[in-house]
Amino acid sequence: MPKYYQPEMETAPRALMRALQSERLVKTVRRVWENVPFYKARMEEAGVTPDDIRSVDDLYKLPFTCKQDLRDTYPYGLFAVPLKDVVRLHASSGTTGKQIVVGYTREDLDLWADCAARALTAAGGSDEDIVHISYGYGLFTGGLGLDGGAMRLGATTVPVSSGNTQRQITILRDFGSTILCCTPSYALHIAEVLRDEGLTPADISLKAGIFGAEPWTEEMRAQIEQMLGIKAYDIYGLTEITGPGVAFECSEQSGMHVNEDHFLVEVVNPDTGEPLPDGEQGELVFSCITKQAFPILRYRTHDIGVIRHGKCACGRTLVKMTKPRGRTDDMLIIRGVNVFPSQIESVLLQLGYTANYQILVDRANNFDSIDVNVEMNPGIFSDTVRGLVQKERELEEALKSLLGISAKVHLLEPNSIERSTGKAVRVIDKRKLLD
């Protein structure tokens, strides 16, 4: 079984990678300067011309692009090719504002498929596999992104799309799917339904899963791996850059390799925008250096992470990024304390709860309150009220020591928190309704 999909890129020596990146960056900057009035205007404002960008070392000179810029130029204002060369459009759901739209030329779809194929290969996939894709198909990049990768790899691709969990399970069993691709919360839901039907990992043929599109914790990984009897791999992507496959996890399961021959990654101080060195936590910023239709430059992702260069034990030399701790958009500020939902998830799973939870934040009399709803499961059920109250207290204390503030825990019946077949809704912040 091949270990790499494109070894010449995935294991390239640093000097070679940098030379390639520089060449591609220089070309892309010149191209957007000539073809996209927005970038030209921004660069002029910053006093930068394409002549100032000679290598990746000059990347920091370029102005940032942010989500608002995509909204302001909606729909096609950032496209660098005529629409006749665009063969596909994708859009983000727009749950946090006006939707954004991105375009792909045939070449763009090709390189995206390569990136997703690298991810599948790193997860042990090959043309022998049956790849079951339960990400939504449509304007969302998840379904078609992994579909492109699986087809490119020559695997048997099963485009199930999301939803209808019973049917997912029938197909998993009947078709003998070996690799599952979906959001981690949906993977957990599929695992729960399997278990509730009295099925075990021995009844299915899955060996690996590629899960992304929402933040998830190591504890959740362990739970999914145990319940489905698979190895669970993280994948990273965002519509603005290309979709799933911007970065992917290898057998080491210790961070994701960025496909940096296509997407340059930087970590910057989220407040000042100043680039940070390897190992320092900050906001991830990506630049596309090969895409034709939508070559976004220095895009601020709002994802918080750390990058590290060096050769991985898997043999890849592609720079690694940590699993994003969460988006700055998802970060809750409760009584002045910064809280990521993923931190709460870690505590829950460590104490034997499932990843079915919801965080409710509210404000009364200028005082923030946080309530955590979590489902009861047989592992922590006790037939005495005292035992259950003790469980609640134990969790409240663990959350207090993590957050420094008191959270009220509510134990709910199984399945009382709505399951999502796509991205799970973890946080309900009622304070936003008051503003």
Partner: protein
């Protein structure tokens, strides 16, 4: 000893009706029932005619359940009968986790379900004081 079925219940209208309906639909008879609750949730404890059938029925309704061994004591059905049993337990430091009564009774006996800190000691005390226990089989429970 008898096996008691315990169910986690959220405090929501109609929950207990739904649970007892699920058990009824499985053709299972309720022989005893008690509820312990807080403001948010409670534990419904039951002795049922068929534990496995009831468990399966509740599993289909996504309930979290557990089975616990409890002791059913045949308390003399006279004024002070229960007080005598409870005094005996208290004087011998057997703590009661919870207790409730059974639906129906024996001849001159009221049946009480006990879950205590020391089950073995409870049985010894009862035997020494001429008090009977009733097994699940004797109650017709499976």
């Amino acid at each position: 000893m008898a096996q008691q079925l315990s169910v986690f219940v959220q405090n929501k209208p109609g929950k207990i009706a739904a649970i007892t309906r699920a058990i009824a639909d499985a053709g299972v008879d309720l022989r005893a029932l008690s509820i312990a609750d807080t403001t948010d949730f409670g534990v419904l404890r039951m002795l049922v005619s068929d534990l496995e059938l009831a468990k399966q029925a509740l599993a289909r309704h996504n309930c979290v359940v557990s089975a616990t061994g409890v002791t059913v004591v045949a308390v003399p059905d006279v004024p002070g009968g229960l007080a005598r049993v409870l005094t005996l337990l208290s004087e011998n430091s057997v703590d009661i986790e919870y207790m409730y009564s059974l639906i129906g009774r024996g001849e001159n006996k009221a049946y009480m379900v006990f879950r205590v800190s020391d089950e073995k000691k409870l049985h010894t005390l009862l035997a020494e004081n001429g008090l009977d226990t009733v097994s699940g089989e004797e109650l017709g429970l499976r």
